[in-house]
């Protein structure tokens, strides 16, 4: 059942690579396409809400200090139609997230992919600069 779900989601994710991520703002006014980041940590909160989903991850830096990063994705209605549910990513999940940093230096990332320790991968498309556009 679980593998079926992730197969469906992987299919949706493949679509997402080609699909524009929907936002109410342009990518470049908030995020910097020249600043890709890859961060690993434990999910502390999921906000499956409009106008974007946000989830938060505790990430340890090189000195061992924990910083809570925010990650932004498409609106929940778009993701729901592509197989996501509000608990697809949930508190306690260990994740590695790729995306692009906010221009203003905040601990905020336009999320592109989420990878779980067993290799399962979800794609939000955000941070896929060419495909990221507002609607």
């Amino acid at each position: 059942m679980r593998s079926t779900f992730f197969s469906a989601l992987a299919l949706a994710s493949a679509f997402l690579f080609a699909a524009p991520v929907v936002a109410h703002h342009g990518f470049s006014v908030e995020f910097d396409g020249t600043k890709p980041v890859t961060l690993t940590g434990v999910v502390t909160r999921m906000e499956f809400m409009n106008p974007h989903i946000y989830f938060y991850v505790d990430v340890k830096d090189a000195s061992g200090k924990v910083v809570n990063w925010a990650f932004e994705g498409s609106p929940p209605n778009i993701l729901y139609r592509q197989g996501w549910r509000k608990d697809t990513v949930k508190p306690g999940d260990m994740v590695t997230v790729k995306g692009f940093r906010a221009r203003d230096g905040a601990h905020l990332v336009a999320c592109n992919t989420i990878t779980f320790p067993d290799g399962r991968q979800l794609t939000l498309g955000a941070g896929n600069v060419k495909g990221y556009d507002k609607n």
Partner: protein, 236 residues
């Protein structure tokens, strides 16, 4: 036992067969008579730059050309969670819209910010001096398989697309929603605005039926981006 004479028998058979005949007639509408049925959830391709399907920039007036060069995406009304406007709502891509059609009124329900348009098809005219509004005053009539919608009375606060094509409160929209078959429409919009464009210009997009329902969307529900936005002017 009731015996039917031949003419009534033929009438009964024709009546019973009517739904089947209508379904198989190839008619683009669902109704046996009257205008085509546009009811349903639809979506056109996301069109962030309306000059792309046009093939070139629209015929800017000098004023509009200067404005287009200077604008920044941070000023997009949508970024401020303001309404999307009548034509841009059709081009919203992954956020579909629903058409609810009655003889006197056709409503367009946008998923984007859960806004809507009312198109009066009862034969009325535009008010003589409409108060400018986000979706204006729309009246429609049928020309064969096409709902022709005329809209005036728009305010100047929406954009036509993400790229920043703008308009004034003199904008006059003429849209043609043509029923191609049960799952396809052709939408043609003509923009006329003497303050922004030297002549009317038109764009046509395919519209496809969606196997979904209109879902919730509130831009203000958990808006956290505006505090992080920075002017870029990277577009020009």
């Amino acid at each position: 036992m009731i015996r039917l004479s031949r003419p009534p028998l033929i009438a009964v058979i024709a009546f019973l067969a009517l739904p089947f005949l209508t379904a198989c007639s190839g008619r683009t509408g669902a109704q046996a008579s009257g205008p085509p049925d546009l009811n349903g959830v639809w979506s056109a391709p996301f069109t962030p730059d309306i000059s792309k399907p046009l093939g070139h920039q629209p015929p800017f007036t000098p004023y509009a050309a200067d404005l287009f060069k200077k604008e920044d995406e941070i000023d997009d009304p949508l970024t401020q969670c303001l309404p999307i406007g009548p034509a841009r709502g059709i081009q919203a891509g992954l956020m579909p819209f629903q058409i609810v059609q009655t003889p006197a009124v056709t409503a367009v329900l946008f998923e984007n910010q859960r806004t809507f348009r009312i198109i009066n098809t009862d034969g009325r005219s535009h008010p003589s001096d409409p108060d400018p509004s986000w979706f204006g005053d729309s009246i429609g009539h049928w020309e064969g398989d096409t709902l022709v919608v005329d809209t005036v009375g728009l305010n100047d606060r929406t954009w036509l697309d993400t790229a920043g094509h703008q308009h004034s409160d003199q904008l006059h929209l003429v849209e043609r929603f043509q029923k191609i078959d049960k799952d396809n429409l052709k939408w043609t919009v003509t923009f006329e605005d003497p303050k922004f464009y030297t002549e009317p210009w038109s764009v046509t997009l395919p519209v496809k039926r969606q196997n979904t329902e209109i879902m919730s969307y509130s831009c203000e529900e958990n808006e956290k981006d505006r505090a992080h936005l920075r002017r870029t002017n990277t577009k020009k």
